[in-house]
């Protein structure tokens, strides 16, 4: 599903040039659950941003579903993204001005789903993450665990082929964290590919494969399954 070769990304400020990704190569097959680990600043999040088509690489190749996307412009990236990729963030990133229902509905609006269909699909997915009773609440009115469940619901409502999770349990206590990890495992079992960045060895154990990064390169791979 994903094949990246010699991927490069640099950040420049006035004084220094930081290499975030240094000729990194990686392949992820459809249906895999991959955890990416490594110390702060090793390039995990940069990798995730590029995989999520939020950022473009400075060099190398990125083939997504058989299409070379490394040189896509923003508009093309946005189109590809909204149909194929769901995101879960450490800080949830729900829009404060929208209700639970409206937050989850948003990706469907952007992909042009009709209103009646949207309602059905949002309700379905809210049922699934057991937050239906809170559908008209605003994010601030929910606990952290509940907010992350909404975020997961929002990530999957469009039935994406790939979910990118950036420390999804980082702001949660262990019981809420485990709940989210169970949800991701369920999704994976239903066929969704998941790539998750995490600091937690405990969470990483839910995946099939752990990629460890250092200084913008992969150093080891542990196959768990």
């Amino acid at each position: 599903m994903i094949k990246i070769t010699d991927l490069e990304k640099m950040y420049r400020t006035e004084e220094v040039e930081t290499i975030a990704l240094n000729k990194l190569s990686l392949e992820v097959k459809e249906g895999e659950f991959v955890a990416v680990m490594g110390p702060s600043g090793c390039g995990k999040s940069t990798l995730l941003n590029i995989l999520g088509l939020l950022d473009d690489p400075d060099g190398g190749s990125f083939v997504f579903n058989g299409i070379e996307v490394a040189h896509f412009n923003e508009r093309k990236r946005a189109d590809l993204r909204k149909h194929n990729i769901g995101f879960v963030f450490q800080s949830f990133n729900l829009i404060d001005e929208l209700t639970v229902f409206e937050n989850v509905e948003l990706p469907l609006i952007y992909t042009g789903v009709k209103s009646a269909d949207r309602k059905k699909r949002v309700e379905e997915v809210l049922e699934k993450v057991q937050i239906m009773h809170r559908r008209n609440h605003y994010p601030q009115q929910l606990s952290g665990g509940q907010q992350q469940r909404v975020a997961v619901a929002r990530a999957v409502v469009n039935k994406p082929k790939l979910i990118l999770a950036d420390e999804p349990t980082g702001n949660l206590d262990s019981s809420n964290g485990n709940e989210v990890m169970e949800m991701l495992t369920d999704l994976n079992e239903q066929g969704t590919t998941i790539i998750m960045v995490t600091h937690s060895e405990h969470d990483a154990r839910y995946s099939h494969r752990i990629i460890r990064m250092l200084d913008g390169q992969t150093v080891t791979e542990n196959i768990l399954v």
Binding site: S45, N49, G52, L54, D55, E74, R75, A78, D79, R81, K82, H83, F87, F89, S91, N93, L94, I95, D96, E97, L98, E102, L106, P107, I109, Y110, T111, R154
Partner: protein, 797 residues
């Protein structure tokens, strides 16, 4: 999608209630001011546009080496000459109107005073496209005593009766017969025509020396002003000016020449070649109102950028979920559109509320659509689109451009890149406020100066009575004696130049002294005039009952006239009055200058004399009565009673000089009020903007302020912390605004002959005012932030 935008726009308005209200109300006030002035401009521009035929009408005038002669009037036969010889002339007419001067009009037993009485010739309707609702337009003015009246005059004089064939009496002596009823145009005209009549003296008035008429011609085909003027001048030169066998072209090379010029009727109101117009004032007001509008729009832009840090996350999330930049752009534009629409609603309400006041202040009668419905809708649309672009474009581009991956990592530093623009906009707003504050100070000082400056006479307790020419000339002694018998009247006098009158005679007459010509305005008075108005005689003596004084053998000059003599002896010297009298008159005294008008015009050199028969006949003027204290209303009712003996046919009309002067100053009061209102709006808008901005900055820095307080900072320190962010900007704003305001103010002051001098106190006043406003705006919030419990703010993470 659209619904979703609208929803979030509305929720954002509600969540940021205060900021939204600030935005919307500020912009609403700015819009309302702009719309009002725009309506005023539309109204002024709609003058003489009520019929397409009007574009073919030109007014003719004569210009010589001294400028436009005779206040724009022309010799009586000029129109006939041009119409007869200029092939492109369709028709010409001449008229002599009393304008805004009220004339006594009587029909049956009804007597009214009416403006717009105009003497015309039989060709009037060949030139002007008025319509008659009754009578035949082709023959209505054929009879030598015909008159055409408007519906308004008909209602006043005859009610619903048919006036055709009925006699009306004008000026108490001219009898004319109504032959038609004219429809007043539904749009304004520079020519106020209420009664058109043909004079019984038409024949004797018709000669080239009679400069009492305005001449209008109508052309067949459109013509450039240059071609028209060449054509009519050639005709005029060959017929009237030709001398020494010079050709017209050769004549043009001469220094001393008299030539004709033309003015389009439709431009007469706004761009007259002689006299002034409101147009410049309105354009300046429109520019100022537009700046206010920009200031209001800028607030929106500014606050949007200020809140962008908060919105950044939303932008990021929306982008991650597939929102395109374009979609986000329109989402933010949608918010601007929603706010601006609400502002427009508020502006609409304000306009409706303020309209009566505005109309009264500027003495105009216009409605919202007086400039034409479509034009107005187009203007408002253009205006609101501009405002939307001004307020929404930058924030929309700015917000939709945020880099997603950085924002989602919690890096909101991009939100700060708008800081420069935000600061620039704040500088603009405060520069505008400072400009207005300075203007208000200058205008108020000048108005105060004009009101309190020694006018050279005392206007207190002086009654001005309108009187017929006969009462002022032959009948004066009798009238004076009759009035003096009323208890409470101290003095009765007359003058042809009444201080405080809106229209004053500005013609200069030639006087000769030692072979040189001295130009002075002739004013005819009675012996008691100077005593009545309390003007001191500085040198020589005042008038008395001697034969010489009573028969134009003695002159009294004002100071300005006396200064024309230079170092030569004035009092006692003899002055010739060419074109008028063969005997010289002696100057017997010099009086203090009297400012008969506002301070815009310098005092003219004046030669006072008595007796209107002997030399330099002057019409116009009034009786002046000096009242002593006591029961004023009793005195006035006694005067009214006694007046019936003096002029039995004309009801008394009187005013007081005090009030007349206030009326003259009204224009300045209006400008003062308008600019003060603008200043208030500008200050409100900038203060609101600054208030919201400060609130945001304090909110952003709540934690920092908390930490500082824990470490021992006091209220003063916090105030300085917040204040110094803006101090620089305010200083820049003042540095920009003060030189510009100074320049504008001195330009404005130059239109006054008597004016104040700009000084540093005015600058200090401006700086002080702005400083106070800034201090209050920032201070209240800084103090609140500084007083809050730091434990609370540190917990907010």
């Amino acid at each position: 999608m659209f619904k979703s935008y609208l929803k979030i726009a509305w929720r954002n308005l509600r969540i940021n209630k205060w900021y939204s209200a600030i935005n919307i109300i500020g912009l609403g006030i700015g819009l309302a001011s702009f719309i009002l002035v725009l309506l005023f401009l539309n109204y002024e521009l709609s003058y003489d546009k009520w019929n397409p035929e009007l574009t073919k009408i030109y007014k003719l005038g004569i210009e010589d080496k001294d400028g436009i002669a005779w206040n724009g009037a022309t010799p009586e036969p000029l129109g006939r000459l041009i119409a007869g010889k200029y092939s492109n002339a369709e028709a010409a007419t001449r008229m002599s109107g009393a304008g805004d001067y009220e004339i006594l009009v009587a029909a049956n037993d009804k007597k009214i005073y009416q403006k717009g009485i105009t003497e015309v010739d039989s060709l009037f309707f060949k030139v002007f496209p008025y319509q008659l609702s009754s009578g035949n337009i082709h023959t209505a003015l054929n009879a030598p005593n015909a008159a055409v009246i408007t519906e308004t005059v008909r209602n006043k004089l005859f009610g619903q009766d048919d006036p055709i064939g009925k006699t009306i009496k004008l000026y108490g002596r001219i009898e004319v017969v109504v032959s038609g009823i004219m429809q007043s145009p539904d749009q304004p005209s520079a020519l106020n025509m209420q009664i058109l009549f043909r004079s019984p003296y038409e024949k004797s008035n018709s000669h080239w020396q009679n400069f009492s008429y305005q001449t209008f011609i109508k052309v067949k085909n459109a013509v450039t002003p240059g071609d028209l003027e060449t054509a009519i001048n050639t005709i005029y030169y060959n017929d009237q000016q030709k001398a020494n066998n010079l050709t017209y072209q050769q004549y043009l090379q001469k220094e001393n020449k008299t030539i004709l010029f033309s003015e389009k009727l439709s431009a007469l109101h706004n761009f007259p070649k002689s006299g002034g117009s409101n147009f410049k004032t309105i354009v300046v007001l429109l520019i100022l109102a537009f700046l206010l509008l920009v200031a209001g729009a800028v607030n929106f832009s500014n606050l949007s950028i200020a809140t962008s840090i908060k919105r950044a996350k939303e932008v990021g999330v929306r982008k991650v979920l597939g929102g395109r930049r374009q979609q986000l752009f329109w989402q933010f534009m949608g918010e601007a559109i929603l706010s601006c629409s609400l502002s427009l609603c508020i502006a609409g309400m304000l306009v409706v509320l303020l309209m009566p006041w505005f109309k009264q202040e500027f003495s105009i009668q216009f409605s919202i659509l007086s400039g034409g419905t479509l034009v107005f809708i187009a203007q408002i649309t253009l205006c609101i689109v501009t405002v939307i672009l001004l307020s929404g474009l930058y924030p929309s581009v700015f917000l939709s451009r945020f880099n997603t991956s950085k924002i989602l990592k919690g890096n909101y530093s991009q939100g700060k890149s708008g800081l420069k623009l935000r600061n620039l906009l704040l500088v603009l707003q405060f520069a505008l406020s400072a400009f207005f504050v300075f203007s208000v100070i200058v205008i108020s000082s000048q108005v105060h100066y004009m009101q309190t400056k020694d006018k050279g006479f005392s206007s207190a307790q002086i009654m001005r009575i309108e009187a017929q020419q006969g009462t002022r000339d032959d009948g004066f002694d009798k009238a004076r004696a009759t009035l003096l018998s009323v208890p409470g009247i101290e003095l009765v006098s007359k003058t042809t130049l009444v201080p405080g009158d809106a229209d004053v005679d500005t013609i200069l007459n030639d006087y000769s002294f030692n072979g040189q010509t001295i130009k002075m305005t002739t004013v005819k008075v009675s012996a008691d005039y100077f005593k009545t108005v309390g003007t001191p005689v500085l040198k020589g003596r005042g008038f008395n009952d001697s034969y010489a004084d009573q028969n134009t053998r003695s002159l009294i000059l004002n100071e300005t006239a006396a200064s024309l003599w230079g170092n030569q002896k004035v009092v006692g010297s003899f002055v010739g009055m060419p074109y008028c009298d063969s005997v010289k008159a002696q100057i017997v005294g010099i009086t203090k200058d009297i400012n008969v008008q506002d301070m815009a015009n310098a005092v003219r050199p004046i030669a006072y004399s008595i007796n209107n028969k002997a030399c330099g006949y002057l019409s116009g003027g009034a009786l002046l009565i000096k009242l002593s204290g006591g029961d004023l209303s009793q005195t006035i009712s006694n005067i009214e009673e006694r007046w019936k003996q003096i002029e039995p046919d004309t009801p008394i009309r009187y005013t007081f000089l005090d009030e007349n002067f206030q009326r003259i100053f009204k224009t300045y009061f209006t400008i003062q009020k308008t600019i003060s209102f603008f200043a208030l709006v500008a200050i409100l808008i900038s203060a609101m903007g600054l208030f919201a901005l400060t609130a945001y900055i304090i909110k952003e820095r709540t934690k920092e302020i908390g930490i500082r307080k824990v470490l021992g900072a006091g209220i003063g320190d916090v105030l300085v912390l917040v204040g110094k962010l803006f101090l620089q900007l305010i200083i820049v704003a003042l540095l920009v605004a003060i030189p510009l305001s100074w320049l504008a103010a001195s330009k404005w002051l130059q239109t006054f002959a008597y004016r104040i001098h700009l000084n540093w106190m005015m600058v200090t006043g401006t700086v002080f005012t702005i400083a106070i406003i800034v201090l209050i705006t920032i201070g209240t919030q800084a103090v609140k932030a500084a007083m809050s419990n730091p434990v609370k703010s540190l917990k907010t993470e």
